[in-house]
């Protein structure tokens, strides 16, 4: 059980000051131009209120949408390679939801299961997460169906739960304790207090789903479900657990750089061979890959799901490819 404390809003604001005094930037959900999105903040007052989720996920703090892997210069018969050092700033991610905080483990699983990805790791090392538990939910949320919950501590270094006059704080990790140590006087003892959380009823049993997927591979439901899928990458790009990336070259005659950028298995181009052959030629196969990668491959390879139930994909989808609903349907394929 983690150490539990109480923080008034004023204390939390003071903690923001202490964090910045320690040389850390704070990224938090803000309401800017009518959109809830992560931005640098200085004070608690700048943090969005009453939000359920940001549109994009917090993965961009450790896995930016575009990052440089290397650069080089060229002359006849010569190439000078320049290694790229990730620009990893000491960062506190404040106010993300427990589901998203849990997503970093899924990223880590892929980036480090074999060789280690320096770019991800350098940024991860500099990142501390102060999550805020959910007292509200919306129709896209399904964290409890995938092993999470509105008060899940997984992935957070400190988890705050809104309570009267401020927050309950669970200090969970060494990184969390290091933050606490910056201003220990702000953390008042609060043993035994509790705060109400959002109610998110579970919609399906993820273990049963994982067990069932192998036999459903050739089922027509994937093609059926994917009929309305437009094949864009919105779901993958907003997903806190989607890791797939592209490597792109940009150069002129004298110099160039190699960049990593987000990619999506939903794009037809993703698997297209130079010969024109495409192993996943239709959207149904690509949609199935998305589902299977998260709910069959991840559990098999990494012992966890590749989905945290945040519902960002559902909210981002222009045609409402509701993931929870589709998975529920996969568990009980009854259609007239």
């Amino acid at each position: 059980m983690a150490d539990q404390f109480q923080l008034s809003s004023a204390s939390l604001d003071a903690l923001f000051t202490a964090l910045q005094g320690d040389g850390r930037r704070i990224l938090a959900p803000t309401d800017r131009d009518g959109r809830t999105e992560l931005n640098p903040v200085q004070t608690l007052g700048q943090v969005a209120r009453d939000y359920v989720q940001t549109a994009l996920s917090a993965k961009e703090t450790v896995f930016p949408k575009v990052e440089q892997l290397l650069s080089y210069s060229m002359a006849p018969g010569q190439v000078e390679l320049v290694d790229a050092e990730p620009r990893a700033l000491p960062t506190v991610l404040f106010g993300i939801r427990p589901c998203e905080a849990g997503g970093f483990a899924a990223l880590d699983a892929v980036f480090n299961w074999d060789t280690r990805d320096r770019f991800f790791n350098a940024r991860m090392e500099q990142l501390a997460i102060i999550g805020v538990a959910c007292t509200r939910k919306d129709d896209a949320c399904f964290c409890t169906s995938v092993g999470g919950g509105p008060g899940s501590t997984r992935g957070s270094d400190i988890l705050l739960t809104p309570a009267a006059g401020g927050f309950l704080a669970q200090v969970l990790t060494d990184k969390g304790r290091a933050i606490q140590a910056l201003a220990p006087e702000l953390f008042a003892p609060a043993a035994g207090l509790a705060a109400p959380l959002a109610e998110v009823p579970a919609a399906f049993d993820h273990a049963a789903l994982t067990a069932r997927l192998p036999e459903l591979f050739d089922s027509p439901i994937w093609d059926d479900q994917a009929l309305r899928c437009l094949g864009c990458g919105a779901c993958a790009f907003v997903c806190p657990a989607c890791v797939c990336f592209d490597i792109q070259e940009e150069a002129d005659k004298k110099a160039g750089r190699r960049l990593r950028a987000w990619d999506s298995c939903g794009f037809a181009m993703f698997t297209l061979h130079a010969s024109g052959h495409n192993p996943r030629p239709a959207q149904g196969a690509r949609w199935r890959q998305r589902v299977y990668h998260k709910f069959a491959t991840y559990p098999d390879r990494y012992g966890m799901l590749g989905c945290v139930g945040c519902g960002k994909c559902t909210r981002a989808c222009p045609v409402d490819m509701n993931l929870q609903e589709h998975l529920t349907q996969a568990m009980a394929p009854v259609e007239s």
Binding site: P64, V66, E67, Q68, P86, R87, D252, R257, L259
Partner: protein
């Protein structure tokens, strides 16, 4: 600083009129600034809007686009088609906040060597007064972690 600023200007010209006109400027020994890099294309109809975008992205401070006068196109109607596209593109660029005053469109015939020199002079001085197109050139490095 502005004293040392030499504008980089890219000119996209058609092969049949403006290129020949610029050639005439030279053979007529009319002097004009050397800030212009001339890129010859078969016809103004070939001057894709992306060429303009690429010129700015690669560091041009100003752009000249020039071809045959209406009714004089070597391919009959390439310049008419081009004109339509420029009308749309110029509005769009302005709407996106791109500085269209850095782009000069003109018709320069093979006989108008003097007009070419005059045009290049004016554009060069105009761009020199505006200064480098830093805000666009900075894009090339922005947005990469």
């Amino acid at each position: 600083m502005t004293d040392t600023f030499e504008p980089k200007i890219t000119a996209f010209v058609c092969n049949w009129c403006t290129y020949a006109g610029a050639d005439l400027t030279g053979t007529s020994r009319i002097k004009y600034p050397s800030n212009v890099r001339v890129l010859r294309l078969p016809c103004t109809g070939r001057i894709d809007f992306m060429l303009l975008a690429k010129a700015f992205a690669r560091g041009s401070d100003g752009i000249i686009i020039s071809g045959c006068h209406p009714n004089d196109c070597h391919y009959t109607s390439g310049n008419y088609h081009a004109r339509r596209r420029w009308m749309v593109y110029r509005n769009l660029m302005d709407f996106m906040g791109i500085d269209t005053s850095r782009i000069t469109f003109s018709w320069v015939s093979a006989a108008e060597g003097a007009k070419w020199a005059e045009l290049v002079n004016e554009v060069t001085e105009g761009i020199r007064a505006m200064g480098p197109y830093t805000e666009y050139q900075e894009l090339a490095h922005a947005g990469v972690e």
